[in-house]
């Protein structure tokens, strides 16, 4: 056993300070055979769960100690170690207090903490000495490194100041809980300071402690530390000078190295072992408790849950069938036995509150397997009807890492926007600002952001970095070109003296180094006592939000229950549509009123008329719908699940389609396992499509226990790194072999499991989504005006721009009338007019403020505008706003035409000339300006609204494009014909699973035409494809099973057409 313990290490979770991931530190500590390591990240315990998990999974047992470096109000930094659980709780509270309490802006002088802006909303931690004293119990303090109070004082003001700083710490922590920290980094002159510190410790009867002051796991990571220093201080490597480290010595060292370094002070090294023995706390005994639900009459939570479940069940269904009653009893009994009743009641209570406030809510995920959840209104899927198994949601053997039953996972979908925010604020108000928080989302360095930020630090010019950003859009997907070629195309040749450094740094950064802490889109954690005793809380960038320092995976690993409050744009659309439909006698008045399984709706789905609907609107989904031909809700669930990176990687799409078409027999991998697999895979004709099937296979074929299957599920859903999945799959392989299965079977199953990782869809989740997809399609077809108005009011969302949605809305068959924006008729939002009409809302007029419009609407409600002069005199739009309204035709009702309105509004007197305003008139009706031509009107619409109520601009060009087929004409062109298509680019996609193929969607006045570009052609025309807003593509037509696309052979810009640029959904 080593006689040294590293008690002062920083990871990359110190954000721009440490350079290695906690996992790297554990690996390095393990290789150095250190028995324990303490992670002291700056102002937080961000990396502690990762250190804890990595330590547990490592072969060499290394004990993960917890602590943090705390920035004090004077800018000094005090390292603290949690000795006990109370100490840890104090540490969390101290950080929370320091982060949530507003400090005076002049508190920190910049020379002490460069790179820190105390004005930021997400302000850094500046703990006061009083707070440190208040939360000191159970904590052990070190005097710190060069940023520590003692060494800082010594360097700035000499021995007496250092002694005073030490006394300040000593008063708080006493002689037992304070160590004088010594670090040696092989820097000339450091011995003078060490000698002083040793003498100072002797004078004050304090023990010495040698630490590595670790900033990175291995010396190679020093380059990252240097880049972080530059990013923190907003400088470049060339200009940073002595702000960079002098050498690469702050890595994890072995006991032998530390003894060699401190041969003159051996007790300092030995004390690390003694101190470690006093540290009794690890994250294993976190002490987290989920809140209990307070029942109204003091009855038990179990009884109350039962009462509510059956109460709602009889209201919802009436007389219960024996099967359903049995199922409810079974679920309630299990929930009670696992002590989860409180959890269910709390989720139910949130859903109930939302409904009372008129907010649509629907549970997603595996909760849809629960009849209790269905009855309580948490989910919308009847699991008995859809034969979903409750065990996949909750069972006795689901045990977490800590050996306790693992919490069920209930995610709730709400309409995005203000309605979801009000639910989140309700949770804050119920559990207190320090009893609830959003989970964090660790934003990591990826692709373009790495190149941009590292490139700046390396001193590359903005032009090269801009070019890189333009050429290589965001995405996890592999590029056809390697990084060096990409850099070369951006103007950074391989022989550039710094290109090698860029490639090396990109390699380090692309290992998901944390960049900053964001908040998860909807995950919240709540706690029985105070959440700030479990994990530090800090302010989120969004107002009225706080966020905990751990992300959802960390919370789950530590047994902290997370409830996801997810915002779905489509939920908002559905809610708005239903609210609009309430004015109609034929409804629907709620989503439940939508007739289920209507054939006409499925017919439209099969025809891929799905622009704007939920989930099945993407290009890939639309290309699959005519082949997959969904006929019922379960088909739709499979459709939703099928177009995912996972199943595509596993080559599963085509077999399923072929089997549904009767071209291929269902296949259960092998005769030897057919009897076992058929019951599991029958509904998907032998294809492993859903996560639940994968889990059931692991339990049936590999004889996994519930806990092992649960671990496999988590590994498959774990988003960080592949180690965990690799281990879980190795375990599955071993178990399958142990059961004597053929190697071919094993490989097939492992391949499927691999393809599911991170992307696999739970069956219940897919059914939930399918319901939303069905409902939105039904509304699109049957309540077209209400649906499109709501869709336009909830932008941006989905795949398509408002312009494309509006063109789709007007396509044949729908007979929808789109009325242009008008000050006399439009509201702020888009509204329904008559049976089949929508009126574009003033929210779409660019440059017009909502407040001005709302005042105008209030005025209009008093009395409609009689004339332009009346309008101008009764509204307070600015000159710019008036012009914007006139240019898009919103004032046409008060004028002869747009230009006449533009002429008139310029004559309106400004506020500064209010006297003249009484007399001034906007001018005569006789505007000297000629009316706008049609192309001018379309151009003005796109500039001022981003869409047009009129025809697609391609319609004006049609007569000039004699050799071009429209999107509609493609349907009747023969398969294999050489055709040319043209239009505005609305989508460029390059899915990683498509082996470098690029999909381009072009929109014209008749619809959307799709083209496929092979990688070599894409690389030849990369710039034309990615930069031009309108294209002309020639190639051979593929028209198979109703799926039509052009295999591009020639790609040209359509710039002579001068089409207005539309927004495009890009991923390349």
């Amino acid at each position: 056993m080593s006689d040294y313990v590293e008690l002062h290490a920083r990871s990359a979770f110190s954000f721009l300070r440490g350079a290695s991931l906690p996992e790297d530190l554990v690996r390095a500590g393990s290789e150095a055979q250190l028995p324990a390591m303490a992670l002291l990240d700056r102002d937080g315990v961000y990396g502690a769960p990762r250190l804890y998990s990595a330590a547990q999974e490592n072969d060499f047992s290394i004990c993960p100690r917890v602590g943090a470096e705390i920035t004090m109000e004077d800018g000094s930094v005090v390292p603290l170690l949690a000795a006990t659980r109370a100490g840890y709780q104090n540490l969390c509270q101290l950080i929370t207090e320091a982060k949530l309490t507003e400090r005076p802006p002049n508190l920190v002088r910049p020379e002490f903490s460069p790179g820190i802006d105390p004005h930021e909303r997400k302000r850094p931690c500046f703990a006061s000495w009083d707070e440190l004293a208040r939360f000191s119990e159970g904590l052990i303090a070190l005097t710190g490194d060069e940023e520590g109070p003692v060494r800082r004082a010594w360097r700035a003001a000499g021995a007496n100041a250092a002694s005073a700083a030490l006394e300040k710490l000593s008063t708080i922590f006493g002689c037992d809980n304070l160590f004088v920290e010594l670090q040696r980094h092989r820097v000339r002159g450091e011995d003078r300071e060490i000698k002083f510190l040793a003498d100072l410790a002797a004078t004050h009867h304090l023990p010495l402690l040698a630490t590595g002051g670790v900033n990175y796991a291995v010396p190679e990571h020093r380059v990252v530390a240097d880049v972080f220093t530059c990013l923190r201080l907003h400088t470049t490597l060339d200009a940073a000078g002595r702000k960079l480290e002098i050498n690469s010595q702050r890595y994890v060292k072995t006991a032998r190295m530390m003894h060699e370094l401190f041969h003159d002070l051996p007790e300092a090294v030995e004390n690390s072992v003694r101190l470690n023995e006093r540290l009794a706390f690890t994250l294993e005994n976190l002490g987290y408790e989920f809140p209990t639900y307070t029942t109204p009459n003091g009855e038990s939570m179990d009884a109350f849950l039962r009462e509510q479940t059956f109460g709602y069940a009889s209201k919802k269904i009436g007389a219960l069938s024996a099967i359903l009653e049995k199922q409810l009893n079974r679920e309630l009994e299990l929930i009670a036995r696992l002590k989860f009743s409180g959890y269910f009641l709390i989720v139910w209570d949130i859903c109930r509150w939302a409904r009372e406030k008129g907010i649509l809510v629907q549970g997603r995920g595996s909760a849809a397997n629960s009849a209790v959840c269905y009855m309580l209104g948490i989910t919308a899927v009847n699991p008995v009807k859809h034969r979903l198994l409750f065990d996949r949601f909750l069972n006795d053997s689901r045990v977490g890492k800590d050996g306790k039953p693992s919490w069920p996972d209930i995610d709730l979908d709400f309409p995005s926007g203000e309605r979801r925010e009000s639910v989140i604020q309700e949770v804050y108000s119920s559990y207190g600002r320090r009893g609830a928080a959003m989970t964090a989302n660790v934003i990591t360095y990826r692709g373009r952001s790495t190149i941009r930020e590292v490139g700046k630090v390396l001193g590359f010019g903005d032009d090269a970095l801009d070019r890189f950003s333009s050429l290589y859009a965001n995405g996890d997907f592999p590029q056809t070109l390697d990084l060096q070629q990409q850099l070369k195309m951006s103007g950074i040749a391989a022989r550039h003296p710094r290109a090698a450094a860029m490639v090396q740094l990109h390699h380090y950064f692309s290992r998901a180094l944390p960049r900053h802490l964001g908040q998860h889109s909807g995950g919240m954690v709540i706690c029985q006592g105070q959440l700030d005793r479990v994990v530090p809380l800090e302010l989120a960038t969004m107002p009225d939000r706080s966020v905990c320092q751990w992300d959802k995976d960390d919370c789950e690993n530590l047994g902290i229950v997370k409830i996801d409050f997810l915002g779905l744009g489509m939920m908002a659309v559905l809610q708005d549509t239903v609210e609009l439909c309430r004015k109609r006698t034929d409804g629907p008045h709620s989503l439940d009123d939508i007739p289920p399984d209507e054939e006409a709706t499925y017919e439209k789905i099969r025809a891929a008329d799905t622009v704007g609907v939920f989930q099945i609107e993407s290009r890939a989904q639309m290309a699959t719908l005519p082949r997959f031909k969904p006929r019922n809700l379960y088909d739709l669930a499979m459709q939703v699940a099928i177009v995912r990176p996972g199943p595509i990687t596993g080559n599963l799409v085509h077999p399923l389609i072929r089997r549904r078409d009767g071209l291929e027999e269902p296949d259960y991998i092998d005769e030897s396992v057919k009897d076992l697999l058929e019951p599991i895979l029958k509904r998907t004709m032998g294809v492993i499509l859903f996560q639940e099937q994968m889990l059931e296979i692991s339990m049936t074929l590999a004889k996994f226990t519930g806990a092992e299957a649960e671990e496999l599920r988590r590994a498959m859903g774990f988003t960080k790194g592949g180690d965990r999945l690799t281990k879980a799959l190795a375990k599955l392989t071993t178990a399958l072999r142990k059961q004597g299965h053929k190697e071919f079977v094993i490989q097939k199953i492992i391949q499927s499991a691999t393809s599911f990782a991170a992307y696999g869809f739970p069956e219940s989740h897919a059914i939930g989504f399918a319901m939303l997809a069905y409902s939105s399609t039904w509304l699109k077809l049957n309540r077209t005006a209400e649906f499109y108005a709501s869709l336009l009011n909830n932008q941006p969302m989905g795949f398509y721009s408002p312009a494309t949605l509006l063109q789709d809305a007007k396509r044949e068959g729908r007979n929808l009338k789109v009325n242009p924006v008008c000050v006399q008729h439009s509201e702020w939002i888009c509204t329904v007019e008559g049976e089949k009409g929508i009126r574009i809302g003033l929210r779409y007029v660019k440059g017009v403020r909502e407040s001005s419009v709302q005042r105008m609407l209030a005025t209009r409600r008093e009395q409609p505008f009689a004339s332009m002069d009346d309008f101008l005199s009764r509204t307070d739009f600015t000159a710019t706003e008036r012009r914007a309204l006139a240019a898009v035709g919103a004032l046409n009702i008060l004028s002869k035409h747009r230009r006449a309105a533009l002429w008139q509004v310029e004559a309106a007197w400004s506020e500064d000339e209010s006297l003249f305003r009484l007399f001034g008139k906007s001018g005569d009706e006789d505007s000297p300006l000629a009316p706008m031509s049609l192309p001018e009107r379309v151009g003005a619409d796109f500039r001022g609204l981003g869409l047009t109520a009129g025809n697609h601009p391609m319609a004006q060009l049609r007569s000039r494009l004699t050799d071009v087929l429209s999107a509609a004409e493609l349907k009747s062109a023969p398969n294999g014909a050489l055709v040319t298509i043209a239009g505005s680019v609305i989508c460029r996609q390059r899915p990683g699973t498509a082996k470098g193929f690029v999909f381009i969607s072009l929109e014209d006045e008749t619809g959307i035409a799709n083209a496929v570009v092979v990688p070599s052609l894409f690389e030849r025309h990369r710039l034309v494809i990615t930069q031009e807003s309108a294209l002309k593509i020639t190639g051979h037509l593929q028209n198979v099973s109703g799926v039509i696309h052009v295999r591009a052979e020639r790609i040209e810009s359509l710039r002579e057409a001068n089409l207005p640029a539309q927004s495009s959904y890009d991923f390349h």
Binding site: R186, R222, G241, I246, G461, A887, R899, E906, A940, R1055
Partner: protein, 485 residues
């Protein structure tokens, strides 16, 4: 009457005139100062290919793969401006540098019949000097500018109304707000605009509207902001790519001399001496002065003088910079400044320094200052200070160590090891057994550029036979860096 000499796409032309092979190629100038690099200017060829100002580099290259991408070079623009003004002075002593690439000339005093002829000569001369130029002659400076914009050679405006009507609205440079309003109004030409009622325009846009109305109708006569002919005659240039052959060097020298001789002539000077200074790639300089046998302003004679000498010149490395100075026939009259520096004779000091620089090289002269770097002994030279700054205050922890006398360069040494410990040291002036050793101390840096990366180990050693030294290891080699007193 006024004439305007106008160089279209000035910043780009100023750059391309020094690239003989660039003629006829599409080229664009990018703004390298903003976050996003956008096209500032595109030449006619680029615009024909669909490349327009405001585009990003990828957008531009998507439309024209062979596009020459350049960034502004202010020193070349200054040079081109000086050429333009020098030619302007050949028309009249009353000229104005209205904006970069635009020179306005007051033609009063010049015979009307000569206006077009002289302007045509000036245009031809500028085109010959690599700056395609147009000229306009009209009643007002603004109108002359419009004329220069509207023509491809020389245009004299007699019928103003007919001339102005078809011109694009942008000719009169409306503010962005006005431009957007007029675009929405559907106005395309100045004629479209002036067809509107003037009072209604003033009512709508007030003073701004009136100003624009005046601009749209050709503006008013106005006094020019006259400039004086230059009083010193020099030219210089640094090359992005080193020059290795005589041809491009002569090309540039000819360009410089063309301009300088025009300036000399405008100021009524002649050259008595030429001073040529070449910066070489190996950080050395080549300097030479040429005393002319007889003072002259003839560009051919001046060029021949240089040409003859350069033909026989061989430098060790390529040329990276060039300065040419002409000493005029009349002595330079210098007015004393209001504030004296602390040097008694700053002019003499500067001259002495310049002479020293010729001997040792200009980059090897200055006041040494420690660099902000962990690299040992890293210094840079800053321009010599005329005033010695006061000494810095002693810090909280004054340096305690012994003074180190450095060996420059460090002495290579051989070491004998016992195990991993060096025990004996050989250097040329001394050797002996190592008695005590402290260290190592490690330092490294500049890892981001492979040819600058450094790394070293340091020890302090005491030899048994006396002497304290600093031992360093760089790569595999050991050196004594210095001796402690």
């Amino acid at each position: 009457m006024f004439a305007v000499l106008h160089i279209a796409d000035f910043a780009l032309q100023a750059l391309l005139r020094n690239e003989p092979g660039s003629t006829g190629n599409a080229a664009a100038l990018f703004d390298g100062t903003r976050k996003k690099s956008l096209i500032l200017v595109a030449n006619t060829e680029a615009r024909t290919a669909g490349v327009n100002p405001g585009m990003t580099a990828p957008q531009a290259v998507a439309r024209c793969a062979s596009l020459l991408i350049r960034t502004p070079q202010p020193e070349l623009e200054v040079e081109a401006s000086r050429v333009l003004l020098a030619v302007g002075f050949t028309l009249s002593p009353s000229i104005e540098e209205t904006e970069p690439g635009v020179c306005t000339i007051d033609l009063r005093g010049l015979d009307v019949s000569q206006h077009v002829t002289r302007a045509t000569q000036a245009v031809a001369q500028l085109t010959l000097l690599g700056l395609p130029t147009t000229a306009g002659i009209a009643r007002t400076p603004l109108l002359a500018l419009y004329a220069a914009h509207a023509t491809r050679s020389v245009l004299r405006i007699d019928n103003e109304r007919n001339f102005l009507a078809p011109l694009p609205l942008a000719t009169a440079a409306p503010s962005p707000t006005l431009a957007e309003i007029f675009l929405n109004w559907g106005l395309r030409t100045l004629g479209d605009f002036t067809a509107l009622p003037r009072d209604e325009i003033i009512r709508r846009f007030g003073a701004e509207g009136l100003t624009f109305w005046n601009r749209a109708t050709g503006g008013n006569d106005r006094p020019l902001k006259l400039i004086r002919p230059p009083q010193s005659f020099s030219a210089e240039m640094e090359f992005e790519d080193p020059i290795e052959t005589l041809e491009p060097l002569l090309f540039l020298l000819r360009r410089f001399l063309d301009r300088l001789s025009l300036e000399l002539s405008a100021a009524q000077f002649v050259a008595v001496e030429l001073a040529l200074d070449l910066d070489l790639e190996n950080d050395t300089h080549y300097a030479r002065t040429f005393r002319l046998p007889e003072p002259t302003g003839d560009v051919e004679i001046l060029f021949r003088t240089l040409h003859t000498h350069l033909e026989s010149l061989h430098t060790e490395t390529a040329i990276v910079g060039l300065q040419l100075r002409i000493i005029p026939a009349r002595p330079l009259v210098r007015q004393q400044g209001l504030f004296e520096t602390s040097l008694r004779d700053p002019h003499g000091f500067a001259e002495t320094l310049a002479r020293v620089a010729v001997v040792v090289g200009s980059d090897r002269i200055g006041t040494p200052q420690l660099k902000d770097s962990h690299r040992a002994d890293a210094v840079k030279l800053i321009p010599p200070l005329s005033v010695i700054p006061p000494a810095a205050e002693i810090g909280v922890h004054p340096p305690l160590g012994l003074p180190l006398r450095r060996f420059r360069p460090p002495l290579p040494v051989k070491l004998e090891f016992t195990g991993r410990q060096p025990t004996y040291l050989w250097a040329e002036p001394f050797h002996g057994a190592i008695d005590t050793i402290l260290g190592p101390w490690r330092s490294s840096g500049e890892w981001w550029q492979h040819d600058h990366t450094w790394s070293r180990f340091e020890w302090d050693i005491a030899l048994a036979n006396g002497g304290l030294y600093r031992l360093i290891q760089v790569s595999e080699a050991f050196f004594i860096e210095g001796e402690y007193d």
